[in-house]
Amino acid sequence: MAIEETPRTPVIANKADDPRYAEKLKQIWESSPGLGGWLSTVDHKEIGIRYIVTAFLFLLIGGLEALVMRLQLAQPNARVLTPEQYNQVFTMHGVTMIFLYALPVLSGFSNYLWPLLLGSRDMAFPRLNAISYWIFLFSGLFLYSSFIVGKAPDDGWFNYVPYASRTYNPGPNIDVYALSMVFLGISTTVGSINFLVTLARTRAPGMSINRMPILVWGTLTASVGNLLAVPAVSLAFLMLWMDRQLNTHFFDSTLGGQPLLWQHLFWMFGHPWVYAIVLPAMGIVSDALPTFCRRPLVGYTAVALSTVTTMILGFGVWLHHMFATGLPLLSLSYFSAASMTIVVPSSVAVFAWVATIWTGRPVFTAAFLHFAGFVLLFVIGGVSGFMTAAVPVDWQLNSTYFVVAHLHYVLIGINVFPVIGGIYYWFPKFTGRMMRETLGKWSFWIMFTGFNVAFFPMHILGIEGMPRRVYTYTDGLGWGTPNLIVSVGAFVFAFGILLFLINVLLSLRGGERAVNNPWDGSSLEWSTPSPPPAYNFAVIPVVASRYPLWESRMNGKPDRSSVNEGMALDIGRETIGTTALDAEPDIILKMPGNTYTPLVVTLGMTLFFISLLLHLWLWGGFAVLLILVASVVWLWPRRALGQVDVSHD
């Protein structure tokens, strides 16, 4: 984005006034068809869909890895996998789900939805948006290339040293992991910056911060969290790579290094990250559930503040991953109490959701079932987290299957269920077609049943003393029967996911055509056609309340928000910039067009990381050159973006 050279006052128009106006916007905003347009687009909607689809592909790969593990663990002493294979598979399962599915899928939702929710035409930095997707894709492919050659990371996603050091893990496995995480961290960082600036500067006039949808609060909070948390892990992985390849010894206790330093850096990142991958998903529920309850969310302000509070507390709890490392009891007590305190903001959200259903009039759609089911899973995942927050109890529970149960209730319950519910909800907007309701309800019930059959018995396995990350177990420990049940549940759950995917494919081709607002939702995205045009809004809407499309039906007052009449901006790609808190119109933002530079920079970075991995230093130099040249092209001042001072011409 850039600032226009000469201030002008935008024309206020009704979008139905001039039929040629929409055509003109289409010319300005649409990507050219064909591969060139596909590779160069900066349209947030295309990028958002790519994020979601790519993340789902990774979810499927991670899910298949889980099923293979469940075959191995279904019986004692099974030999489906060798120990080394098992370690690679469980590591890749965790890494895939946490890094390549859970956050990217939410980034996908937010990329697609933010400008539509906020009443803007694109994200603040469209090219940055494109590069954050490309980096996500290529870092994921870089990581998975190691799996194909049988040298995938094998020290768990937490990657504790010194097992991850070259002494104990001499292959390329850990180097691939370290480099791909530094690589992926760039994507997360630029993506987070983009969300923050988009939020601060491109909300529709009138959308003050107390009128933003909760999903926006969730992604805002997650983005701030990421900006503060990701540097810790990028640094940790860089230091590890240097320990392994350049003979530094940050983590080597035999040379004065400190293995616990890794754990501190990793969990300073890791725990805030957990909130980053659930808060936007909780936002999906807080925004979509009320639509099906036919009322606004109960306690908007309390829920918004609880979102932020959770993240702030989330930065003060990382030590609860390290309760058994021999740290002083006083610090453990502090972190124990801080971890338990998270119950308070979480319970705000739970009671807000239950109250919204209770005082509303629920409509039992497939999407709604996912959100209602999510509330229960959230509570189960929450109370098991509360149990592990108690230091002495955690001395027993940690590193057992109890924690595996807990984290899957959190990550599947609070991420996957809202995400799939969110897809049922926004599919009409994404594609212009409705999903099949009956099939959707079937897939929900199969997923919900399978999930609980798979993961609830894991609590019991944990209390029966089964440690995590074991490739097998012997007879006589009482773990056989629950493991068999878990494995059966896992396959039932997978079948539910399969039905969901079938539903997506069937609906894509033959789904009923969707109207603009099929669920009678209250927020701005439902005022656009399904699917929205490339420019989102023909005129920039004006927002006067939290629920612009419901205004006339609440409080008995006439509409004050305006979605049909507003600023018409059609001199090149333009949207309106507003002030950060009150969203007063401030400036016309000139938006960049499609470009290959984000892709070229990403390819340069990919080459750079490959050359680091393989010690091809010359190629590394070439990659740096490529990145520099492409960046110069990217940043070269353009008159169309108002970056050239015309007075000197």
């Binding site: 060798t82 120990p83 504790y160 010194p162 104990y168 206790s253 035999t254 290094g257 293995p259 616990l260 036919r294 009322r295 306690g299 908007y300 058994a324 490392t325 009891l329 007590s333 124990s336 109490a337 338990m340 305190t341 308070v344 319970s347 739970v350 807000a352 239950v354 109250a355 259903i357 005082t359 009039r361 629920p362 229960l376 509570v379 109370v383 509360f386 149990m387 108690a390 002495p392 109890v393 001395w395 027993q396 529970l397 057992t400 029966e464 003393g465 440690p467 995590r468 990350r469 006589g476 420990l477 009482g478 773990w479 629950p482 009678d520 939290r546 629920y547 609440m554 409080n555 008995g556």
Partner: protein, 336 residues
Amino acid sequence: MRTCFVSLSGSLLSPLALCAEGPMSYERTFGPAVDPITQLGWGLGIISLVVIVVITVLLLGALFRSRAPSADPRGLAVSSETGGMSWIYIGVGISSVVLAACMVWTLTTINAVARPLSSPALTVQVTASQWWWAARYESAAPARIFTTANEIHIPVGQPVRFELISGDVIHSFWIPQLAGKMDVIPGQTNRMWLEASRAGVYRGQCAGFCGVQHAHMALVVVADPPETFASWQDDQIESTRPPVTADTIRGHEVFQTHCAACHTIRGTTPAGIRGPNLTHLMSRGTLAAGLLPNTRGNLAGWIANAQSLKPGARMPDQNLSGPELLAVTAYLSTLH
């Protein structure tokens, strides 16, 4: 009173466990370093189950309570955004009170298990390595120091201090029925204590991921009556007697050429420390860190085929002739 509550809830909830309580289960525990934790665990677990039940009932009520039919399907259920806040006030209020009580209980429990009532008389230094445990019994008298592996004997009713050090990567020392886990981290010595209130065999297992054979890194703690423990300790301090029969003499030679680089047998030539000390091998219940019952057949199988029994273990397959294998097994079988 509390114990009664705990055992009652234990017996009620045990059927939930789908299986008999196994040797790693900490539903019931047997020592003062862990019993307060078990009570806290049951307490928090029951509170958690109550929370789940209450929310489920509220949720079902919210979903299915009867409502007046609506005239306008597009109408909203409420005419104002406000309302419903009492749910949050009451719900969060009750949660916070319960939470505060749980915090206090947690902090008092930390304190209750922080140290034993009396200072431990016995100190065992445990070294965790990929994928086995060495246990060195400390003593002021150097002659009474001895080292064993994967099986730790302690006297019943007396606190024992453990010093945990790592031979390589991070491990975690965990005997669930006697104490919570404590990580074993290179470059530092972590200390803990435990005490068995009842004689018996308590299984433990490494709980910190440590590589390919993390799954097979078990150990047992055997709690003996004090006099039994004392005689076990005296036996362990004894060196072994030299071999006398022809096949055990031959076996000892095989040991010296094939095994002694890593294993020690006290009373013979000084030897390696990379593998378990085998001085009183036959006094132990299992082989290969809990993998196999310690029988003569398993011992021979382990020597010949360690890599197929425990792939990746540091113990290589020994390329011995049949007679050599028989001889070395015969020799090792004399190490009581």
